[in-house]
Amino acid sequence: MHKIESRNVNFFYGENQALYDISLSMKENTVTALIGPSGCGKSTYLRLLNRMNDLIDNTRMEGNILIDQNDIYEKSTNVDDLRKNVGMVFQKPNPFPKSIFENVAYGLRVNGIDDKHVIEERVITSIEQVALWDEVKDKLKKSAFELSGGQQQRLCIARALAIQPSVLLMDEPTSALDPISTSKIEELIHELKNQYTIVIVTHNMQQAARVSDNTAFFYMGKLIECDKTKTIFTKPAIQQTEDYITGRFG
C-alpha cells in the first residue's frame, strides 16, 4: 500500500513539457529524495503533490496522483484540505513577519481553530518536535526574524507540523543554511520520518544518501531511476544515474 502514488504524470508550462510520464510511489513513513541537475523537473514534481503548481498560470497536468488512495486532482478534492495534509518547507527560510508563536499558530488560526489552549498546546508541541523549544521558549513573542537562518528554517518546519499533516514536502530545505544548521535539519528528518512521509528535493548528493530511504533520479523531465537509496548510490541500474552521482555531469 502506497502513501503517495503517481501514475503517468505529464506536466506542461504553457507549451513546454516539464515532466514526461512520471510514475513514482512512496510508502508511508519513508523519506524519498528527489535528485537531478537544475531544471530536471524534481521541484516541479514535488509541487504537484500539494498542487502548488496550480498557482502558476498556463500550466497543465495529465495523469493521476493519489495520496491515501484519493486522486488529488479530482474535481471533488478540496485543495485547502489537501494542503493541510501535505505540508511544505521551502528553500529559503520564510517565516511570516509575525512573532515566533504566531508563526506556528498561523496554520491553526486560518483553519478555524480558535481555542487558546489547543493552539498553545499545538504550538509548543510543534516547536518541541523541531528541537527548537529550548532556544525560543523565552522569546515566543519576539519577531521570528530575530532567529538565525537555521532556527528560522526549523520554525518553518514547526509551522508546517502544527496543522498535523501526514506528508511533508521539502524543497531544498538546507541549501541556504550553514553546515551545522544543515546537520540539525537532517537529524530532524530522521526523527520526523517515524510520523510523516517525507519527500525531499536536494542538490546535495551526500544529503540524499544520509537522509533518504529511497532516491529518485530525474533528468530532463524524466524519471530515470528510482530505487532504495543504497542501491542507487552503490550499484545504479542505469548508466546516466551513475554518471550523475559520481559527478561526471550535472
Binding site: M52, D57, K84, F96, V110, S143, G149
Partner: protein
C-alpha cells in the same frame, strides 16, 4: 608612447568627461529645486504669521489670512484619500493577487495607465458633469474630493501593485500551503509585508492632490468664502486655487502679491509635512515587518 598608453589615457579622459556631465546635471537639479524653494521662501516668509494661517481673508483678499483655504485643502485631501485609497488598494489587490495573466489583465493595466495620462482639466470637466450635475452634489467637497480621488487612483493602484509584486511569492505559497485561503493569505501575510510601501503611494497622492487646481476648479473651489465648510456638501476654498485667484484675478493683484507667495509657501509646507509624516509611518511599520 605606445598606443596602449594612448588608449588608456583616452579612456580615462572620456570617463572624466562623462562623469563630469552626470555630476553637473545631478547637482543642477538639486540646485534648481533649492532656487525655487528659496525664491518662494524669501518672497513669502514676510507675510507668514499666526494671523496669516488662522485668520479669514479680508479686504478683498488683500489682507487677513488664508485659514479657510488651508482647511479646504485638508478637507479635499482627506475626502479624496478616503475614496481613492481603499478603491485603489483593492483594485491593485485584485489585479495582482486574483486576476490570471491574460488579456483582461492587460486591458485593465493599459486603462489604468491611460487614466494616469489624462490631463487634470479633463478630470475637472468630468467631475463637474458627473458629480456636480448628474449626481447633484453641486459644487462641494464631496464632488471635488471624488474628482481628485479619481485623478490619483492610478497612482495609488500602480504603487500598491508594485508593493504587492515586491512581496516574495514563497510567503504566499507558505500561507496557501498551510491551507489558508487566498484572502487569508492576502490580508494576513501579503498586505502586512507590503504595507510600508503602500504608504508611499499615499504620500505621492497626498502631494499630488493638495497641489492640483484644475480638477477642483469646477467642482468645489470657491473664489472667496469667508467661512469654513460645515458639511461635505459645502463649497470650500483651496490653497492652489486661492493662489491662482490672488495672483491673477484678485481685487488688487499687486497688493496681494506677497500673500500669493505666502500661500505657495504654506502649500509646500503642507506637502512637506505630509511627506515627513508618511515617511515616519513607513519607517515605523517597516520596522515591524523587517526582513532578514
Amino acid at each position: 608612447m605606445s598606443t596602449e598608453n594612448k588608449l588608456a589615457r583616452k579612456k580615462r579622459m572620456n570617463q572624466k568627461i562623462a562623469f563630469g556631465i552626470f555630476t553637473a546635471i545631478s547637482y543642477s537639479i538639486v540646485a534648481l529645486l533649492f532656487v525655487i524653494l528659496a525664491f518662494i521662501v524669501i518672497k513669502g516668509i514676510g507675510v507668514i504669521s499666526w494671523e496669516f494661517i488662522t485668520a479669514m481673508p479680508s479686504n478683498g483678499m488683500t489682507e487677513g489670512g488664508i485659514f479657510p483655504a488651508i482647511v479646504g485643502t485638508l478637507c479635499l485631501v482627506f475626502a479624496s484619500m478616503i475614496f481613492a485609497f481603499p478603491v485603489g488598494v483593492f483594485a491593485a489587490i485584485y489585479m495582482n493577487e486574483y486576476v490570471k495573466d491574460g488579456w483582461i489583465k492587460k486591458i485593465i493595466k493599459q486603462m489604468t495607465n491611460n487614466l494616469a495620462g489624462v490631463p487634470s482639466i479633463v478630470f475637472g470637466l468630468f467631475g463637474m458633469s458627473l458629480f456636480v450635475n448628474k449626481l447633484g452634489f453641486g459644487d462641494s467637497i464631496l464632488a471635488g474630493g471624488l474628482t481628485l480621488g479619481l485623478l490619483v487612483l492610478p497612482v495609488v493602484i500602480r504603487t500598491t501593485e508594485e508593493s504587492l509584486k515586491a512581496v516574495d511569492s514563497t510567503f504566499r505559497q507558505a500561507s496557501l500551503g498551510l491551507g489558508a485561503s487566498k484572502w487569508q493569505t492576502t490580508s494576513k501575510v501579503v498586505l502586512p509585508i507590503a504595507f510600508p510601501n503602500i504608504i508611499t503611494g499615499l504620500i505621492l497622492s497626498i502631494g499630488r492632490v493638495s497641489g492640483e487646481t484644475a480638477p477642483i476648479l469646477f467642482t468645489v473651489a470657491a473664489y472667496f468664502l469667508p467661512k469654513l465648510p460645515s458639511s461635505i456638501f459645502d463649497q470650500a476654498m483651496a490653497l492652489p486655487y486661492h493662489l491662482y485667484v490672488i495672483a491673477t484675478s484678485g481685487t488688487n493683484i499687486e497688493k496681494s502679491r506677497a500673500m500669493a507667495y505666502g500661500t505657495a509657501l504654506i502649500l509646500i509646507i503642507i506637502v512637506l509635512i505630509s511627506n515627513l509624516l508618511a515617511n515616519a509611518l513607513r519607517k515605523y511599520f517597516g520596522k515591524k515587518v523587517k526582513m532578514n
